[in-house]
Protein backbone atom coordinates (compact mmCIF):
# COMPACT_ATOMS: atom_id res chain seq x y z
CA UNK A 1 0.00 0.00 0.00
CA UNK A 2 2.67 2.42 1.07
CA UNK A 3 4.91 1.57 -1.84
CA UNK A 4 2.05 1.81 -4.30
CA UNK A 5 1.54 5.42 -3.28
CA UNK A 6 5.25 6.19 -3.67
CA UNK A 7 5.16 4.53 -7.05
CA UNK A 8 2.15 6.59 -8.10
CA UNK A 9 3.82 9.84 -7.12
CA UNK A 10 7.02 8.83 -8.89
CA UNK A 11 5.05 7.91 -11.98
CA UNK A 12 3.23 11.28 -12.07
CA UNK A 13 6.44 13.25 -11.64
CA UNK A 14 8.02 11.16 -14.35
CA UNK A 15 5.14 11.75 -16.74
CA UNK A 16 5.32 15.47 -16.12
CA UNK A 17 8.73 15.38 -17.82
CA UNK A 18 8.25 12.38 -20.04
CA UNK A 19 10.30 13.68 -22.94
CA UNK A 20 13.46 14.19 -20.93
CA UNK A 21 12.85 10.94 -19.11
CA UNK A 22 12.52 9.16 -22.41
CA UNK A 23 15.81 10.62 -23.59
CA UNK A 24 17.47 9.39 -20.41
CA UNK A 25 15.94 5.94 -20.89
CA UNK A 26 17.10 5.86 -24.51
CA UNK A 27 20.60 6.61 -23.27
CA UNK A 28 20.44 3.51 -21.11
CA UNK A 29 18.90 1.48 -23.93
CA UNK A 30 21.64 2.52 -26.30
CA UNK A 31 24.44 1.68 -23.92
CA UNK A 32 23.01 -1.69 -22.95
CA UNK A 33 22.41 -2.53 -26.61
CA UNK A 34 25.99 -1.72 -27.44
CA UNK A 35 27.24 -3.53 -24.36
CA UNK A 36 25.42 -6.75 -25.27
CA UNK A 37 26.30 -6.56 -28.96
CA UNK A 38 29.92 -5.81 -28.31
CA UNK A 39 30.35 -8.61 -25.82
CA UNK A 40 28.42 -11.14 -27.90
CA UNK A 41 30.43 -10.30 -30.99
CA UNK A 42 33.79 -10.16 -29.26
CA UNK A 43 33.12 -13.33 -27.41
CA UNK A 44 31.92 -15.03 -30.60
CA UNK A 45 35.16 -13.97 -32.22
CA UNK A 46 37.13 -15.23 -29.26
CA UNK A 47 35.40 -18.58 -29.41
CA UNK A 48 36.15 -18.77 -33.11
CA UNK A 49 39.83 -17.99 -32.68
CA UNK A 50 40.12 -20.23 -29.67
CA UNK A 51 38.34 -22.97 -31.53
CA UNK A 52 40.90 -22.68 -34.26
CA UNK A 53 43.55 -23.98 -31.91
CA UNK A 54 42.03 -24.95 -28.61
CA UNK A 55 39.30 -27.24 -29.92
CA UNK A 56 41.87 -29.19 -31.82
CA UNK A 57 44.46 -29.30 -29.10
CA UNK A 58 44.35 -31.95 -26.42
CA UNK A 59 43.98 -30.61 -22.90
CA UNK A 60 46.86 -32.80 -21.85
CA UNK A 61 49.33 -34.24 -24.33
CA UNK A 62 51.56 -37.05 -23.17
CA UNK A 63 54.67 -37.82 -25.16
CA UNK A 64 58.26 -38.69 -24.84
CA UNK A 65 60.78 -35.92 -25.17
CA UNK A 66 64.19 -36.63 -26.61
CA UNK A 67 66.44 -35.26 -23.93
CA UNK A 68 69.54 -35.86 -21.90
CA UNK A 69 69.28 -38.16 -18.91
CA UNK A 70 68.58 -36.25 -15.77
CA UNK A 71 71.02 -38.48 -13.92
CA UNK A 72 74.41 -38.86 -15.56
CA UNK A 73 76.54 -41.95 -14.73
CA UNK A 74 78.78 -40.02 -12.37
CA UNK A 75 75.80 -39.21 -10.19
CA UNK A 76 75.27 -42.86 -9.46
CA UNK A 77 78.71 -43.49 -8.07
CA UNK A 78 79.56 -40.29 -6.31
CA UNK A 79 77.01 -38.09 -4.56
CA UNK A 80 77.89 -34.42 -4.92
CA UNK A 81 77.86 -33.67 -1.24
CA UNK A 82 80.70 -31.23 -1.57
CA UNK A 83 80.98 -29.09 -4.68
CA UNK A 84 79.48 -29.97 -8.05
CA UNK A 85 80.09 -32.40 -10.84
CA UNK A 86 80.77 -30.63 -14.13
CA UNK A 87 80.08 -32.73 -17.19
CA UNK A 88 80.76 -31.32 -20.65
CA UNK A 89 79.27 -32.09 -24.03
CA UNK A 90 76.35 -34.17 -22.83
CA UNK A 91 74.25 -35.72 -25.61
CA UNK A 92 70.77 -37.16 -25.51
CA UNK A 93 70.85 -40.89 -25.18
CA UNK A 94 69.47 -43.09 -27.86
CA UNK A 95 66.01 -44.06 -26.77
CA UNK A 96 62.72 -45.16 -28.24
CA UNK A 97 60.41 -42.25 -29.04
CA UNK A 98 57.21 -44.22 -28.68
CA UNK A 99 55.44 -44.46 -25.37
CA UNK A 100 56.21 -47.57 -23.44
CA UNK A 101 53.16 -49.42 -22.20
CA UNK A 102 50.84 -47.12 -24.12
CA UNK A 103 47.97 -49.60 -24.12
CA UNK A 104 47.89 -49.82 -20.33
CA UNK A 105 48.21 -46.07 -19.92
CA UNK A 106 45.25 -45.47 -22.23
CA UNK A 107 43.14 -48.02 -20.42
CA UNK A 108 43.87 -46.47 -17.05
CA UNK A 109 43.28 -42.91 -18.34
CA UNK A 110 39.88 -43.91 -19.65
CA UNK A 111 38.92 -44.91 -16.12
CA UNK A 112 39.73 -41.46 -14.74
CA UNK A 113 36.45 -39.64 -14.09
CA UNK A 114 37.90 -36.28 -15.09
CA UNK A 115 38.66 -37.53 -18.58
CA UNK A 116 36.24 -36.95 -21.43
CA UNK A 117 38.20 -39.02 -23.90
CA UNK A 118 41.59 -40.34 -24.90
CA UNK A 119 42.92 -40.45 -28.43
CA UNK A 120 46.24 -42.04 -29.35
CA UNK A 121 48.33 -40.48 -32.05
CA UNK A 122 51.52 -41.08 -33.99
CA UNK A 123 53.48 -38.31 -35.60
CA UNK A 124 55.81 -39.29 -38.37
CA UNK A 125 58.10 -37.08 -40.43
CA UNK A 126 58.01 -37.97 -44.11
CA UNK A 127 58.86 -36.70 -47.58
CA UNK A 128 56.22 -36.48 -50.22
CA UNK A 129 57.76 -37.38 -53.56
CA UNK A 130 56.50 -35.22 -56.41
CA UNK A 131 58.41 -35.97 -59.55
CA UNK A 132 61.98 -35.21 -58.74
CA UNK A 133 61.21 -32.98 -55.78
CA UNK A 134 60.67 -34.09 -52.22
CA UNK A 135 58.37 -32.00 -50.03
CA UNK A 136 58.79 -32.31 -46.30
CA UNK A 137 55.69 -32.97 -44.33
CA UNK A 138 54.31 -34.96 -41.51
CA UNK A 139 51.69 -37.60 -41.16
CA UNK A 140 49.50 -37.78 -38.10
CA UNK A 141 48.33 -41.25 -37.41
CA UNK A 142 44.98 -40.95 -35.70
CA UNK A 143 42.15 -43.01 -34.33
CA UNK A 144 39.62 -41.57 -36.76
CA UNK A 145 36.50 -41.89 -34.65
CA UNK A 146 38.00 -40.69 -31.39
CA UNK A 147 39.77 -37.83 -33.15
CA UNK A 148 36.45 -36.73 -34.58
CA UNK A 149 34.59 -37.08 -31.31
CA UNK A 150 37.12 -35.14 -29.29
CA UNK A 151 38.63 -32.70 -31.77
CA UNK A 152 35.92 -32.25 -34.41
CA UNK A 153 38.08 -33.66 -37.12
CA UNK A 154 35.24 -33.77 -39.65
CA UNK A 155 34.78 -29.99 -39.41
CA UNK A 156 38.07 -29.47 -41.14
CA UNK A 157 37.84 -32.15 -43.78
CA UNK A 158 36.45 -29.92 -46.52
CA UNK A 159 36.38 -32.49 -49.31
CA UNK A 160 36.08 -36.21 -49.07
CA UNK A 161 34.71 -38.26 -46.24
CA UNK A 162 36.87 -38.41 -43.13
CA UNK A 163 35.71 -41.93 -42.33
CA UNK A 164 37.43 -43.15 -45.50
CA UNK A 165 40.66 -42.94 -43.52
CA UNK A 166 39.48 -45.92 -41.57
CA UNK A 167 37.55 -47.68 -44.27
CA UNK A 168 39.98 -47.37 -47.19
CA UNK A 169 43.29 -49.14 -46.58
CA UNK A 170 46.45 -47.11 -47.05
CA UNK A 171 44.58 -43.83 -47.38
CA UNK A 172 45.61 -40.28 -46.51
CA UNK A 173 43.90 -36.92 -46.06
CA UNK A 174 46.16 -34.09 -47.19
CA UNK A 175 46.27 -30.52 -46.05
CA UNK A 176 44.68 -28.33 -48.70
CA UNK A 177 47.90 -26.38 -49.20
CA UNK A 178 49.94 -29.53 -49.48
CA UNK A 179 47.55 -31.02 -52.03
CA UNK A 180 47.67 -27.85 -54.11
CA UNK A 181 51.47 -27.85 -54.03
CA UNK A 182 51.60 -31.45 -55.14
CA UNK A 183 48.80 -30.96 -57.64
CA UNK A 184 46.97 -34.09 -56.63
CA UNK A 185 43.23 -34.72 -56.53
CA UNK A 186 41.10 -37.02 -54.47
CA UNK A 187 41.57 -40.57 -55.71
CA UNK A 188 45.19 -40.00 -56.77
CA UNK A 189 48.04 -41.87 -55.18
CA UNK A 190 50.97 -40.08 -53.55
CA UNK A 191 54.43 -41.45 -52.89
CA UNK A 192 55.82 -41.09 -49.42
CA UNK A 193 59.36 -41.70 -48.14
CA UNK A 194 59.88 -42.24 -44.42
CA UNK A 195 62.84 -40.95 -42.51
CA UNK A 196 64.26 -44.45 -42.57
CA UNK A 197 64.21 -44.30 -46.37
CA UNK A 198 61.32 -46.65 -47.06
CA UNK A 199 58.86 -45.86 -49.86
CA UNK A 200 55.15 -46.16 -49.57
CA UNK A 201 52.06 -45.40 -51.73
CA UNK A 202 49.01 -43.79 -50.16
CA UNK A 203 45.64 -42.99 -51.69
CA UNK A 204 44.28 -39.47 -51.22
CA UNK A 205 40.71 -39.63 -49.84
CA UNK A 206 40.20 -35.99 -48.81
CA UNK A 207 41.56 -32.55 -48.05
CA UNK A 208 41.46 -30.75 -44.80
CA UNK A 209 41.65 -27.05 -44.01
CA UNK A 210 42.57 -26.14 -40.48
CA UNK A 211 42.39 -22.37 -40.85
CA UNK A 212 46.12 -22.05 -40.38
CA UNK A 213 47.66 -21.96 -43.85
CA UNK A 214 51.16 -22.89 -42.77
CA UNK A 215 49.86 -25.98 -41.06
CA UNK A 216 47.90 -27.03 -44.14
CA UNK A 217 51.07 -26.98 -46.25
CA UNK A 218 52.82 -29.67 -44.22
CA UNK A 219 50.24 -31.72 -42.36
CA UNK A 220 48.35 -34.78 -43.39
CA UNK A 221 46.36 -37.49 -41.66
CA UNK A 222 46.30 -41.24 -41.90
CA UNK A 223 44.89 -43.93 -39.68
CA UNK A 224 47.00 -45.29 -36.87
CA UNK A 225 47.29 -48.65 -38.58
CA UNK A 226 48.49 -47.15 -41.85
CA UNK A 227 51.05 -45.07 -40.02
CA UNK A 228 52.33 -48.00 -38.03
CA UNK A 229 52.70 -49.95 -41.27
CA UNK A 230 54.44 -47.00 -42.87
CA UNK A 231 56.94 -46.80 -40.05
CA UNK A 232 57.26 -50.55 -39.94
CA UNK A 233 56.28 -50.65 -36.30
CA UNK A 234 54.19 -52.92 -34.15
CA UNK A 235 50.58 -52.32 -33.12
CA UNK A 236 51.63 -50.85 -29.80
CA UNK A 237 53.62 -48.06 -31.35
CA UNK A 238 52.12 -44.74 -30.18
CA UNK A 239 54.04 -41.48 -29.84
CA UNK A 240 51.38 -39.24 -28.29
CA UNK A 241 48.45 -39.78 -26.03
CA UNK A 242 45.93 -36.94 -26.30
CA UNK A 243 43.61 -36.43 -23.37
CA UNK A 244 40.54 -34.26 -23.37
CA UNK A 245 39.20 -33.37 -19.94
CA UNK A 246 35.70 -32.42 -18.90
CA UNK A 247 36.95 -28.98 -17.89
CA UNK A 248 39.81 -27.24 -19.62
CA UNK A 249 40.82 -25.54 -16.38
CA UNK A 250 41.77 -28.85 -14.82
CA UNK A 251 44.52 -29.33 -17.40
CA UNK A 252 47.57 -27.95 -15.55
CA UNK A 253 47.22 -29.96 -12.31
CA UNK A 254 46.16 -33.05 -14.22
CA UNK A 255 49.17 -32.83 -16.53
CA UNK A 256 51.46 -32.60 -13.53
CA UNK A 257 49.79 -35.57 -11.92
CA UNK A 258 50.04 -37.76 -15.04
CA UNK A 259 53.66 -36.88 -15.41
CA UNK A 260 54.30 -38.30 -11.96
CA UNK A 261 52.14 -41.36 -12.30
CA UNK A 262 53.16 -42.51 -15.77
CA UNK A 263 56.70 -41.20 -15.75
CA UNK A 264 56.41 -39.56 -19.17
CA UNK A 265 56.22 -35.97 -20.34
CA UNK A 266 52.81 -34.31 -20.17
CA UNK A 267 52.03 -30.76 -21.26
CA UNK A 268 48.79 -28.93 -20.61
CA UNK A 269 46.97 -26.82 -23.15
CA UNK A 270 47.45 -23.60 -21.22
CA UNK A 271 51.19 -23.94 -21.28
CA UNK A 272 51.21 -25.00 -24.92
CA UNK A 273 49.03 -22.09 -26.09
CA UNK A 274 49.44 -19.34 -23.58
CA UNK A 275 49.33 -16.60 -26.23
CA UNK A 276 45.72 -17.45 -27.11
CA UNK A 277 44.54 -17.11 -23.55
CA UNK A 278 46.09 -13.66 -23.31
CA UNK A 279 44.50 -12.50 -26.57
CA UNK A 280 41.05 -13.65 -25.49
CA UNK A 281 41.19 -12.04 -22.10
CA UNK A 282 42.43 -8.73 -23.50
CA UNK A 283 39.61 -8.68 -26.03
CA UNK A 284 36.98 -9.37 -23.36
CA UNK A 285 38.52 -6.76 -21.13
CA UNK A 286 38.25 -4.13 -23.87
CA UNK A 287 34.62 -4.97 -24.56
CA UNK A 288 33.71 -4.80 -20.90
CA UNK A 289 35.54 -1.48 -20.54
CA UNK A 290 33.76 0.07 -23.52
CA UNK A 291 30.37 -1.27 -22.40
CA UNK A 292 30.73 -0.02 -18.89
CA UNK A 293 31.95 3.38 -20.07
CA UNK A 294 28.82 3.71 -22.17
CA UNK A 295 26.71 2.84 -19.15
CA UNK A 296 28.43 5.38 -16.97
CA UNK A 297 27.79 8.08 -19.57
CA UNK A 298 24.13 7.06 -19.58
CA UNK A 299 24.23 7.23 -15.79
CA UNK A 300 25.33 10.85 -15.93
CA UNK A 301 22.41 11.55 -18.25
CA UNK A 302 20.01 10.17 -15.66
CA UNK A 303 21.74 12.12 -12.93
CA UNK A 304 21.20 15.34 -14.87
CA UNK A 305 17.55 14.65 -15.61
CA UNK A 306 16.85 13.87 -11.97
CA UNK A 307 18.65 16.94 -10.74
CA UNK A 308 16.65 19.07 -13.14
CA UNK A 309 13.45 17.36 -12.09
CA UNK A 310 14.21 18.06 -8.45
CA UNK A 311 14.83 21.75 -9.08
CA UNK A 312 11.63 21.94 -11.02
CA UNK A 313 9.63 20.05 -8.45
CA UNK A 314 10.93 21.82 -5.33
CA UNK A 315 7.43 23.11 -4.61
CA UNK A 316 5.88 19.71 -4.94
CA UNK A 317 8.51 18.19 -2.70
CA UNK A 318 7.92 20.89 -0.09
CA UNK A 319 4.18 20.26 -0.21
CA UNK A 320 4.60 16.53 0.09
CA UNK A 321 6.68 17.10 3.17
CA UNK A 322 4.26 19.66 4.62
CA UNK A 323 1.34 17.25 4.32
CA UNK A 324 3.23 14.46 6.04
CA UNK A 325 5.58 12.65 3.69
CA UNK A 326 8.94 11.95 5.30
CA UNK A 327 12.37 12.51 3.78
CA UNK A 328 12.56 8.75 3.35
CA UNK A 329 9.38 8.78 1.24
CA UNK A 330 10.70 11.57 -0.97
CA UNK A 331 13.97 9.69 -1.32
CA UNK A 332 12.09 6.57 -2.40
CA UNK A 333 10.12 8.56 -4.96
CA UNK A 334 13.26 9.71 -6.73
CA UNK A 335 15.02 6.36 -6.44
CA UNK A 336 11.92 4.83 -7.99
CA UNK A 337 12.07 7.31 -10.86
CA UNK A 338 15.75 6.48 -11.44
CA UNK A 339 15.18 2.75 -11.26
CA UNK A 340 12.17 2.92 -13.58
CA UNK A 341 14.33 4.67 -16.15
CA UNK A 342 16.99 2.00 -15.61
CA UNK A 343 14.63 -0.96 -15.81
CA UNK A 344 12.69 0.38 -18.77
CA UNK A 345 15.77 1.50 -20.69
CA UNK A 346 17.72 -1.57 -19.64
CA UNK A 347 15.10 -4.10 -20.76
CA UNK A 348 14.74 -2.38 -24.10
CA UNK A 349 18.53 -2.42 -24.29
CA UNK A 350 18.65 -6.17 -23.67
CA UNK A 351 16.12 -6.70 -26.44
CA UNK A 352 18.01 -4.28 -28.68
CA UNK A 353 21.26 -6.06 -27.95
CA UNK A 354 19.72 -9.39 -28.82
CA UNK A 355 18.26 -7.93 -32.02
CA UNK A 356 21.46 -6.28 -33.12
CA UNK A 357 23.60 -9.31 -32.42
CA UNK A 358 21.15 -11.59 -34.27
CA UNK A 359 21.44 -9.16 -37.16
CA UNK A 360 25.22 -9.38 -37.13
CA UNK A 361 24.83 -13.14 -36.93
CA UNK A 362 23.13 -12.99 -40.35
CA UNK A 363 25.89 -11.07 -42.08
CA UNK A 364 27.84 -13.41 -44.35
CA UNK A 365 31.46 -13.88 -43.41
CA UNK A 366 33.32 -16.19 -45.75
CA UNK A 367 36.97 -16.78 -45.50
CA UNK A 368 39.24 -19.32 -47.13
CA UNK A 369 40.85 -20.37 -43.92
CA UNK A 370 37.66 -20.92 -41.92
CA UNK A 371 35.58 -23.41 -43.85
CA UNK A 372 33.01 -23.98 -41.12
CA UNK A 373 32.20 -20.29 -40.66
CA UNK A 374 29.50 -18.78 -42.87
CA UNK A 375 28.43 -15.68 -40.94
CA UNK A 376 29.97 -13.42 -38.31
CA UNK A 377 30.30 -15.32 -35.06
CA UNK A 378 28.06 -14.33 -32.14
CA UNK A 379 28.05 -15.81 -28.69
CA UNK A 380 24.57 -15.61 -27.12
CA UNK A 381 25.80 -16.16 -23.61
CA UNK A 382 23.02 -15.37 -21.07
CA UNK A 383 25.78 -14.17 -18.77
CA UNK A 384 26.14 -10.98 -20.85
CA UNK A 385 22.44 -10.26 -20.56
CA UNK A 386 22.60 -10.78 -16.84
CA UNK A 387 25.60 -8.50 -16.44
CA UNK A 388 23.97 -5.89 -18.68
CA UNK A 389 20.73 -6.03 -16.73
CA UNK A 390 22.37 -5.86 -13.34
CA UNK A 391 24.67 -3.08 -14.44
CA UNK A 392 21.88 -0.94 -15.86
CA UNK A 393 20.10 -1.16 -12.51
CA UNK A 394 23.22 -0.45 -10.48
CA UNK A 395 24.20 2.56 -12.59
CA UNK A 396 20.75 4.09 -12.55
CA UNK A 397 20.50 3.50 -8.84
CA UNK A 398 23.80 5.28 -8.26
CA UNK A 399 22.75 8.06 -10.64
CA UNK A 400 19.55 8.48 -8.65
CA UNK A 401 21.15 8.17 -5.25
CA UNK A 402 22.56 11.67 -4.83
CA UNK A 403 19.67 13.60 -6.38
CA UNK A 404 17.26 11.56 -4.27
CA UNK A 405 19.26 12.30 -1.17
CA UNK A 406 19.23 15.98 -2.02
CA UNK A 407 15.47 15.92 -2.54
CA UNK A 408 14.92 14.18 0.76
CA UNK A 409 16.77 16.88 2.67
CA UNK A 410 14.92 19.81 1.10
CA UNK A 411 13.59 22.02 3.89
CA UNK A 412 9.95 22.79 3.13
CA UNK A 413 10.04 25.97 5.23
CA UNK A 414 12.60 27.58 2.95
CA UNK A 415 10.53 26.80 -0.13
CA UNK A 416 7.22 27.88 1.33
CA UNK A 417 8.72 31.05 2.76
CA UNK A 418 10.51 31.81 -0.50
CA UNK A 419 7.31 32.53 -2.41
Amino acid sequence: MKYRLIFRIAYSLLLARWKQTLVAAIGVTFSITMFITLLSFMSGLNDLLDGLILNRTPHVRMYKEIQVSKKQPIDYIQKATQGHNFIKSVKPKKDRIDIYNSEQIIQSLKKDTRVLGVAPKITAQVFFNVGSIDLTGSINGIDTEEENRLFKFSDYVTSGNFMDLKNVPNSIILGKGLATNMMVNIGDVVQVTTSKGEQFSLKVVGYFQSGLQDLDKVQSYASIKTTQKLLNQSENYITDIQVKLKDILWAPPTAKEYQEIYQIDAIDIQKANSQFETGSSVRSLISYAVGITLLIVAGFGIYNILNMLIYEKMDSIAILKAVGFSGQDVNLVFITIALSIGIFGGSLGLLGGFGLSSLIDQIPFNTESLPTIKTYPINYNPKFYMIGGVFSIITTYLAGYFPAKKASTIDPVIIIRGK
Partner: protein
Amino acid sequence: MKSTTVLEAQKISKYFHDPVTIKILNEVSFSLQSSEFVSVIGKSGCGKSTLLYILSTMDTDYEGEVIIDGMSMRGKKEDELARVRNEKIGFVFQFHYLLNEFNVLQNVMLPGLKLGKYSEQEIEHRAYEKLSILGIKEEAFKMPNQLSGGQKQRVAIARALINEPLLIMGDEPTGNLDKKNSEIVFHIFEELAQVYKQTLLIVTHDNEFADRTSRIIEMEDGQIIKM
Protein backbone atom coordinates in the same frame (compact mmCIF):
# COMPACT_ATOMS: atom_id res chain seq x y z
CA MET B 1 -18.12 18.80 24.69
CA LYS B 2 -15.21 18.72 27.08
CA SER B 3 -12.44 20.96 25.89
CA THR B 4 -8.90 19.63 25.90
CA THR B 5 -5.59 21.28 25.16
CA VAL B 6 -4.73 20.65 21.54
CA LEU B 7 -1.58 22.67 21.26
CA GLU B 8 0.71 24.23 23.75
CA ALA B 9 3.65 26.54 23.12
CA GLN B 10 6.07 26.91 26.02
CA LYS B 11 8.63 29.72 25.92
CA ILE B 12 9.43 29.38 22.28
CA SER B 13 12.45 31.40 21.16
CA LYS B 14 13.90 31.46 17.69
CA TYR B 15 17.09 32.95 16.33
CA PHE B 16 18.18 33.61 12.78
CA HIS B 17 21.91 33.72 12.23
CA ASP B 18 22.06 35.17 8.79
CA PRO B 19 23.54 37.77 8.34
CA VAL B 20 23.80 38.45 12.08
CA THR B 21 22.24 36.57 14.95
CA ILE B 22 18.89 38.11 15.83
CA LYS B 23 16.15 36.87 18.08
CA ILE B 24 12.91 36.68 16.09
CA LEU B 25 10.74 34.99 18.70
CA ASN B 26 11.12 35.76 22.37
CA GLU B 27 9.68 33.21 24.81
CA VAL B 28 6.30 32.88 23.17
CA SER B 29 3.86 30.87 25.27
CA PHE B 30 0.19 30.16 24.74
CA SER B 31 -2.16 27.23 24.47
CA LEU B 32 -5.02 26.28 22.25
CA GLN B 33 -8.12 24.40 23.40
CA SER B 34 -10.12 22.11 21.15
CA SER B 35 -12.84 23.76 19.02
CA GLU B 36 -11.22 27.16 19.38
CA PHE B 37 -11.04 29.43 16.35
CA VAL B 38 -8.00 31.61 16.98
CA SER B 39 -6.44 34.25 14.76
CA VAL B 40 -2.90 35.59 15.05
CA ILE B 41 -2.30 39.19 14.00
CA GLY B 42 0.60 41.58 14.11
CA LYS B 43 2.74 43.84 11.97
CA SER B 44 4.62 42.46 9.02
CA GLY B 45 7.91 40.93 10.14
CA CYS B 46 6.92 40.39 13.75
CA GLY B 47 7.43 36.61 13.49
CA LYS B 48 3.94 35.17 12.85
CA SER B 49 4.94 32.86 10.04
CA THR B 50 8.07 31.82 11.87
CA LEU B 51 5.98 30.82 14.87
CA LEU B 52 3.53 28.90 12.72
CA TYR B 53 6.27 26.87 11.03
CA ILE B 54 7.62 25.91 14.44
CA LEU B 55 4.18 24.93 15.69
CA SER B 56 3.54 22.89 12.58
CA THR B 57 6.74 20.85 13.29
CA MET B 58 8.28 21.82 9.95
CA ASP B 59 10.91 24.02 11.64
CA THR B 60 12.82 22.19 14.35
CA ASP B 61 15.48 24.77 15.12
CA TYR B 62 14.03 26.56 18.16
CA GLU B 63 14.19 26.80 21.94
CA GLY B 64 11.28 25.91 24.22
CA GLU B 65 8.63 23.25 23.89
CA VAL B 66 5.87 22.50 21.43
CA ILE B 67 3.28 20.09 22.79
CA ILE B 68 0.72 18.72 20.38
CA ASP B 69 -2.05 16.48 21.68
CA GLY B 70 -0.09 16.03 24.90
CA MET B 71 3.13 14.95 23.17
CA SER B 72 6.32 16.96 23.15
CA MET B 73 7.73 17.47 19.68
CA ARG B 74 11.24 17.88 20.94
CA GLY B 75 13.61 15.03 20.12
CA LYS B 76 11.27 13.42 17.64
CA LYS B 77 12.81 12.04 14.48
CA GLU B 78 12.11 13.51 11.08
CA ASP B 79 9.76 10.72 10.04
CA GLU B 80 7.92 10.86 13.37
CA LEU B 81 7.31 14.58 12.87
CA ALA B 82 6.11 13.89 9.33
CA ARG B 83 3.66 11.43 10.80
CA VAL B 84 2.40 14.05 13.28
CA ARG B 85 1.89 16.55 10.45
CA ASN B 86 0.13 13.92 8.41
CA GLU B 87 -2.21 12.78 11.13
CA LYS B 88 -2.87 15.76 13.37
CA ILE B 89 -2.24 18.94 11.45
CA GLY B 90 -3.81 20.41 8.35
CA PHE B 91 -1.89 23.30 6.84
CA VAL B 92 -3.23 25.95 4.49
CA PHE B 93 -0.72 28.29 2.89
CA GLN B 94 -1.07 31.76 1.49
CA PHE B 95 -0.12 30.51 -1.95
CA HIS B 96 -2.33 27.59 -2.69
CA TYR B 97 0.27 24.91 -2.98
CA LEU B 98 -1.30 22.10 -4.93
CA LEU B 99 0.55 19.36 -6.80
CA ASN B 100 0.14 20.22 -10.46
CA GLU B 101 0.76 16.63 -11.52
CA PHE B 102 -2.42 15.42 -9.83
CA ASN B 103 -6.04 16.38 -10.31
CA VAL B 104 -8.10 18.03 -7.59
CA LEU B 105 -9.48 14.82 -6.16
CA GLN B 106 -6.06 13.18 -6.03
CA ASN B 107 -4.57 16.24 -4.36
CA VAL B 108 -7.14 15.98 -1.64
CA MET B 109 -6.67 12.25 -1.26
CA LEU B 110 -2.89 12.30 -1.04
CA PRO B 111 -2.44 12.88 2.73
CA GLY B 112 -5.14 10.27 3.35
CA LEU B 113 -3.35 7.71 1.21
CA LYS B 114 -0.16 8.50 3.06
CA LEU B 115 -1.83 7.94 6.41
CA GLY B 116 -3.27 4.69 5.15
CA LYS B 117 -5.92 4.48 7.82
CA TYR B 118 -8.74 3.83 5.37
CA SER B 119 -9.03 2.00 2.10
CA GLU B 120 -8.54 3.95 -1.08
CA GLN B 121 -12.26 3.85 -1.87
CA GLU B 122 -13.09 5.15 1.58
CA ILE B 123 -10.57 7.96 1.19
CA GLU B 124 -12.00 8.84 -2.19
CA HIS B 125 -15.45 8.92 -0.71
CA ARG B 126 -14.27 11.21 2.10
CA ALA B 127 -12.45 13.47 -0.35
CA TYR B 128 -15.68 13.91 -2.29
CA GLU B 129 -17.44 14.73 0.93
CA LYS B 130 -14.90 17.43 1.78
CA LEU B 131 -15.08 18.87 -1.71
CA SER B 132 -18.84 19.07 -1.51
CA ILE B 133 -18.70 20.75 1.91
CA LEU B 134 -16.45 23.33 0.27
CA GLY B 135 -18.75 23.61 -2.72
CA ILE B 136 -16.27 22.52 -5.35
CA LYS B 137 -17.42 18.99 -6.01
CA GLU B 138 -17.78 19.75 -9.71
CA GLU B 139 -14.11 20.55 -10.03
CA ALA B 140 -12.96 17.15 -8.72
CA PHE B 141 -11.46 16.00 -11.98
CA LYS B 142 -9.93 19.28 -13.09
CA MET B 143 -6.23 19.90 -12.86
CA PRO B 144 -5.14 22.58 -10.36
CA ASN B 145 -4.09 25.00 -13.10
CA GLN B 146 -7.67 24.99 -14.42
CA LEU B 147 -9.00 26.51 -11.19
CA SER B 148 -9.36 30.08 -9.94
CA GLY B 149 -7.37 31.26 -6.94
CA GLY B 150 -10.33 30.94 -4.60
CA GLN B 151 -11.12 27.47 -5.84
CA LYS B 152 -7.51 26.39 -5.37
CA GLN B 153 -7.55 27.63 -1.81
CA ARG B 154 -10.70 25.66 -1.14
CA VAL B 155 -9.05 22.54 -2.54
CA ALA B 156 -6.13 23.19 -0.19
CA ILE B 157 -8.57 23.41 2.73
CA ALA B 158 -10.23 20.18 1.65
CA ARG B 159 -6.80 18.56 1.60
CA ALA B 160 -6.07 19.91 5.08
CA LEU B 161 -9.32 18.31 6.27
CA ILE B 162 -8.94 14.87 4.73
CA ASN B 163 -7.37 13.17 7.76
CA GLU B 164 -9.74 14.90 10.18
CA PRO B 165 -6.86 16.63 11.90
CA LEU B 166 -6.76 17.83 15.45
CA LEU B 167 -5.88 21.29 14.28
CA ILE B 168 -5.86 23.33 11.09
CA MET B 169 -3.22 26.02 10.72
CA GLY B 170 -3.29 28.70 8.08
CA ASP B 171 -0.69 31.27 7.12
CA GLU B 172 -2.66 34.12 5.59
CA PRO B 173 -4.96 31.76 3.69
CA THR B 174 -6.95 34.69 2.36
CA GLY B 175 -3.95 36.95 1.82
CA ASN B 176 -3.82 36.32 -1.85
CA LEU B 177 -7.54 36.40 -2.57
CA ASP B 178 -9.93 39.15 -3.57
CA LYS B 179 -12.71 40.36 -1.28
CA LYS B 180 -15.32 37.95 -2.54
CA ASN B 181 -13.14 34.84 -2.38
CA SER B 182 -11.78 35.86 1.03
CA GLU B 183 -15.32 36.00 2.23
CA ILE B 184 -16.06 32.49 0.92
CA VAL B 185 -12.95 31.04 2.52
CA PHE B 186 -13.70 32.79 5.80
CA HIS B 187 -17.20 31.37 5.78
CA ILE B 188 -15.79 27.94 5.35
CA PHE B 189 -13.55 28.36 8.38
CA GLU B 190 -16.46 29.69 10.36
CA GLU B 191 -18.61 26.74 9.39
CA LEU B 192 -15.83 24.29 10.23
CA ALA B 193 -15.49 25.89 13.65
CA GLN B 194 -19.17 26.09 14.44
CA VAL B 195 -20.64 23.03 12.77
CA TYR B 196 -17.74 20.61 12.87
CA LYS B 197 -16.06 21.96 16.02
CA GLN B 198 -12.75 22.12 14.16
CA THR B 199 -9.83 23.74 16.03
CA LEU B 200 -8.28 26.48 13.89
CA LEU B 201 -5.19 28.67 14.21
CA ILE B 202 -5.06 31.23 11.44
CA VAL B 203 -2.46 33.96 10.83
CA THR B 204 -3.99 36.93 9.09
CA HIS B 205 -3.44 40.57 8.18
CA ASP B 206 -7.09 41.18 7.81
CA ASN B 207 -8.46 42.74 11.01
CA GLU B 208 -12.04 42.25 9.88
CA PHE B 209 -11.31 38.55 9.58
CA ALA B 210 -9.69 38.50 12.99
CA ASP B 211 -12.57 40.26 14.68
CA ARG B 212 -14.93 37.49 13.67
CA THR B 213 -12.85 34.71 15.27
CA SER B 214 -13.34 33.51 18.84
CA ARG B 215 -9.92 34.65 20.08
CA ILE B 216 -7.22 36.98 18.79
CA ILE B 217 -3.52 36.64 19.58
CA GLU B 218 -1.64 39.83 18.83
CA MET B 219 2.10 39.81 18.34
CA GLU B 220 4.76 42.51 18.21
CA ASP B 221 8.51 42.10 17.79
CA GLY B 222 8.49 38.39 18.49
CA GLN B 223 6.34 38.57 21.56
CA ILE B 224 2.68 38.12 22.31
CA ILE B 225 1.26 41.39 23.55
CA LYS B 226 -2.38 40.42 23.78
CA MET B 227 -4.28 37.16 23.81
